[in-house]
Amino acid sequence: MSLRFAAGLLVSVLAAPASAMEFNDKPTTEQAAFFEKKIRPALVEHCYKCHSADADKLKGGLALDTREGVREGGDGGAVVLPGSPDKSPLIKAVRYLDATTKMPPKGKLPDAVVADFERWVAMGAPDPRTEAGGRKAVEKPAPIDIEKGRSHWSFQPPKAKSAPAVKDAAWATSEVDRFVLAALETKGLKPVGDADARTLIRRAYLDLTGLPPTADEVESFAADRAPDAFEKVVDRLLASPRFGERWGRHWLDVARFAETTGKTTNFNYPHAWRYRDYVIAAFNADKPFDQFVKEQLAGDLLPGGDPTTKAERTVATGFLAVGPKALNARNGLQCLMDLLDEQSDLTTQAFLGLTVACARCHDHKFDPIPTRDYYALAGVFKSTETCYGTVRFVQSQRPSALVTLPQGSAQASITTKLTDAERAAAEKNIAELQVKLREGDIIARLLTSAQLALARSKLDLYEKDGTPKLLAMGAREGFRPANSPVYARGEVDKPGEVVPRGVVRVVGTNQPVIRSGSGRKELAEWIASKDNPLTARVMVNRVWLHVFGRGLVATPDNFGVGGAPPTHPELLDRLAVSFADGGWSVKTLVRTLVLSHAYRLSSKHDAANVEADPDNTLLWRATPRRVEAEVLRDSILAVSGQLDAKPPVGSPVAAAGEGPSNRPRLGPAGGVRPDAETPFRSIYLPVVRDNLPESLALFDGADPSLIVADRPTTNVPSQGLFLLNNPFVLKASDAVADTLLKETTTDSERVRAAYLKFYGRPPVEKELIVADAFLAEYRKVAAKGGPPAAGPPRGPFGGRGPGGFGRPFGGGQTPVRGEREVWSAFAQALFASAEFQYRR
């Protein structure tokens, strides 16, 4: 549908009730004669020059030489509101009373002619013309039928049907299992056997905490014969603070969390880390998901709460603020519309699994979402003030305020009190810069103004008395609510009909009415409602995806017509209903899934099943998958004993403060320090857009400029190069070597200890032989030392080495330094092995 036509259509839909009149399609003979005698000649004489097929340039996109043209209006929307001359832009223009639009531009029409036009509009603008003119009849696809669109499965309310009967009732230990097994049985497939205890506990640790179990934890679980042994482990892991760091990261992927603006100039968001910590805490506290939704969209508007709660809810709205932004945008309106677009896109994809942003320029191609709905939603954010900070700087013209949290609200601070001496020094510096601002050429002055901006931003971190302010990114109500026009083709210079703030109409029938304020609260409540057919389904699907490796809906961000249909629709519905009815507890949902029999399956290959279901969509086994970048990095730190599990306060970006991210003081790579220098869990690494730490970027860490629901897994040589050569891995390997050398004495003891550390299982006989052969061979090449060998390396080791496994170490045959290198190489090989990197 052409946008202009859409705008015209909207006029007839929207304006009709007000004017209580349609366009007059059946003019009487008198009315037709009136048009021919009075109106057509006036149009020809005064208007056609600019508003017809003969115009050099059609002005304002308005053609008045056809009936359709009159009715569709121009770039700015309708010009004739039938029956309402006073409201019709055309009449306002010819009356010469409108401030901006006076037509015809050369001079006001005689009053009699103006009166004719008024009369004509009052009678419904009868127009007997049939000929094509300035805008020939165009193919007009049928307008979106929202009611009909509601028939799509995901717009229907989920129904909680009970689980179907299954043949192998003993296998299905939970309701989830009955759904899964029924689908398998329908296809004649049989699930593989269960994973062994060691594989299972490792799987649960990786899935729930993102860290591997220690050797002791594996051993005690493997020895625990109690029927509820696994349940106990799962409950312990769910209660661990590591759970929030693991599952919070999943949400941060979706929330496109980052600590810089990205895009053109990449300025720091020094306060973004508060939102990160909020998300981690929310998952740890098992904050009900509906509450989580409401806080992120409208935390500042939720009633009640003590200062701590209020501060937390304000920080939650950082969700709307931490997105990518182009701070050097020239056009303010364009910049605003891009911000609203980013927020609308995020909100609808993250919570509703809909790609509403497609409707910015045209009605959605697949889903029943017209541009009107897009701009209704955009109006909500237009009425909101987004507080993201940043400073006015070279190439940064669009800083905003930040939110100041109340003191005593239990929010952490990264700085200590500013002393009077420090303040005096800072103020002196600012004063000097202000003087310097008038010196030098333009470049020098720009540099000074940048220094000044940074100096001021530093001082702005403190209250008058030197107490550090508690600053946060977030959202608050705008100065006054403002509806958005529908911009034709998304172009900001083509505003059309203004639409009231609202939500996506095809979703649910309980549409909120926004009477006052931005409407964020209403939007949040509408999303976080049991009546919303999408919210619970979309979140259940996200949780399922992270537990089983593949969503029930394979397109977790698209539940629309263009998305994939669910593999187990009734299971999805059942889980969604239980989730919402049971208080939106993510931990309960995770627990339900992890305690299912389906979760305990082994990852064994089965030729017949592969043939029938190669992608394992029906869950006949556990699909082995490489752990995510953060899990790999954290596992390397944990196994090597280097992990500092205590969450750091703030972030290197916070420490660097406002300004462009790429500055010498942030390190050569713009805030990203070498991995080997940071012992914290990966979720606490600085997230600089377009500049992720290498350990994350190489292993498919989520691009923080994108809303990422399901990370891709690539398999490329650069990952191998990282594991073979990067100092981070070498350092960790050295640490493992030191421990092995200190705590154990024989080769076989060391190999055994390493297998337990890395894989959570002891080596089998054959593996001891293989390890022994490696050690022997490596000792030989290591003893040679010297520079790297040129030319082809000699063939790898053949049989067993001279030492034989079990050979006691320490007899002085090999220098300790050499042994450290040998065991470091051994440890590194285990880090580099697939078994370490796979969740099986």
Binding site: S2, R4, A53, A55, D56, K57, L58, G134, R135, V138, K263, T264, H362, R489, D493, K604, H605, V610, P614, P624, D690, E694, D700, L706, T714, N715, V716, P717, S718, Q719, G720, L721, L724, N725, N726, L730, V770, A773, F774, E777, Y778, V781, P787, A789, A790, P792, P793, R794, G795, P796, F797, G798, A825, F826, A829, A832, S833, A834, Q837, Y838
Partner: protein, 460 residues
């Protein structure tokens, strides 16, 4: 430099190899042609015109009516109302750059490409291109993978799968500065093809600017020589093969095993290939290396040539920032200037080295732009008609295939859908697009899905 064969033999004598060989054999039985060395050069279906591909990918959709599709009527009707499809009511916008007939062939090229225009007699311009949707992520994915609705292997992965590669010490498919958006890694991914066929990314792209191509990191072990590392890696690989044997098939682990071997060999080979100082000053200058605005893309083109010369099968270079909804005049000019000299240098260099005749060079974006204006100085996306060009590799030079209507809105003659273009590229490489298949989900999958017709008219 050790050869791939000796390398494999070396590995073959290691323990654990038997188990691996058995598995590889199993895989080979399932998928004929996927022998134990999945990257070994393979015979094409029929004699090939081109042996390698260089895809100069212009992310964002460069305007065809301002570059390679001359539309005099658009100039005449500047400012008039356009009445077609979704553009109805928008005003036509004449190109602000003059077109001239170039070379002996008289091929039309605008003044945006004065240097490339000197190679007009080598260019085969496809003016009737079409793709399904005027939306970046979909069209960009379609250009690379054929379809956007489901994950599919990319063109480069298919080519590598079909032909293997000539240099076992380098990745067979290299992509320089690909974008993170618009499908991101999927655009050089292998999807259901074995993971070893996916593109190796060097440097990262970015919207609105040319991507940065840095050295491949972690190429050198700070403490371990090649021999010691080989011993270590053999151990890693034996662990991996054991895991594979225990689990049965696992494409991820199979891919990792292959990727490790490649990583190891790359350590010796890549630094040599990426060392641009091996090139003479004159050659560097030819590509615009060191020149203002041309340095980055010039380096990438030179790097691409070095990779191709070293035996890499498929090289892609992405230059982003062609989405001129606004600032058409300044931004399109800046972009074209940034790539004009580098591409001209590249073509000249390939020619003098005798590489152009069997290297297919492709220039193009995911779609073109509208003949109508957007905000006075911009053009919107246009999927119905746009231009790409090819050179070398068995295409007709100084030739125009297909055409759009009077305004460049829609392909009206010689319409070449992306599927057809893919079929044509494969054909030039000696591959029948209907026979280059991989069984997945019970179906013999193809790059061209169920479509694609070779544009035989472009073949010399």
């Amino acid at each position: 430099m050790f050869s791939r064969r000796s390398m494999l033999q070396g590995t073959a004598s290691g323990f654990g190899y038997l188990a691996f060989a058995a598995l590889a054999h199993e895989a080979a039985a399932k998928e004929p042609g996927a022998a134990k060395d999945p990257l070994a050069p393979k015979a094409s279906h029929f004699p090939a015109k081109a042996r390698r591909v260089l895809f100069l990918c212009m992310e964002g959709g460069p305007s065809h009516v301002d570059t390679f599709d001359h539309k005099p009527k658009l100039t005449v009707d500047d400012g008039k109302l356009f009445n077609r499809g979704r553009l109805s009511g928008a005003k036509l916008l004449a190109s602000q750059w003059a077109f001239k007939k170039r070379g002996n062939s008289g091929l039309w090229v605008s003044d945006l490409f004065p240097e490339v225009a000197k190679h007009a007699d080598d260019l085969c311009v496809l003016n009737g291109m079409a793709t399904d949707l005027p939306s970046h992520p979909q069209a960009f994915l379609q250009m690379h993978c054929g379809v956007f609705q489901a994950p599919r292997p990319s063109l480069g992965a298919w080519v590598l799968y079909g032909l293997g590669t000539e240099n076992a010490n380098l990745p067979g498919f290299v992509t320089l500065s690909p974008p993170a958006n618009n499908g991101g890694p999927a655009n050089h991914g292998s999807s259901f093809l074995p993971a070893i066929y996916q593109g190796t990314k060097i440097g990262a792209g970015g919207l609105g600017r040319f991507g940065d191509t840095t050295q491949v990191s972690n190429l050198k072990n700070p403490r371990r020589g090649a021999e010691a590392q080989r011993v270590q890696l053999d151990f890693v690989q034996s662990l991996n093969r054991d895991l594979l044997a225990a689990d049965g098939a696992n494409p991820g682990v199979e891919g990792a095993i292959e990727a490790y071997e490649l990583a190891f060999r790359m350590q010796a080979e890549v630094p040599k290939v990426m060392d641009l100082s091996q090139e003479t000053k004159a050659t560097q200058e030819m590509y615009g290396v060191g020149g203002e605005g041309t340095d980055r893309f010039g380096k990438q083109c030179l790097l691409a040539r070095r990779f191709l010369e070293a035996g890499v099968r498929f090289v892609e270079v992405t230059a982003g920032g062609w989405d001129q909804h606004r600032n058409l005049k300044t931004d399109l000019e800046r972009n074209c200037t940034g790539i004009d000299k580098p591409i001209a240098g590249l073509l000249a260099d390939l020619k003098r080295r005798g590489l152009l005749k069997d290297t297919l060079v492709v220039w193009g974006g995911e779609f073109g732009r509208t003949p109508t204006a957007q905000g006075g100085d911009g053009r919107d996306h246009n999927n119905k008609g746009y231009s790409i060009w090819m050179a070398g590799g068995g295409v007709k030079g100084g030739f125009t295939h297909g055409k759009t209507d009077d305004y460049g809105f829609e392909a009206v003659e010689g319409r070449t859908h992306v599927h057809d273009w893919h079929a044509t590229v494969l054909h030039l490489l000696g591959l029948n697009h209907e026979k280059l298949t991989f069984r997945h989900n019970g179906r013999d999958m193809r790059l061209t899905d169920v479509k694609g017709e070779v544009a035989t008219g472009v073949i010399a």
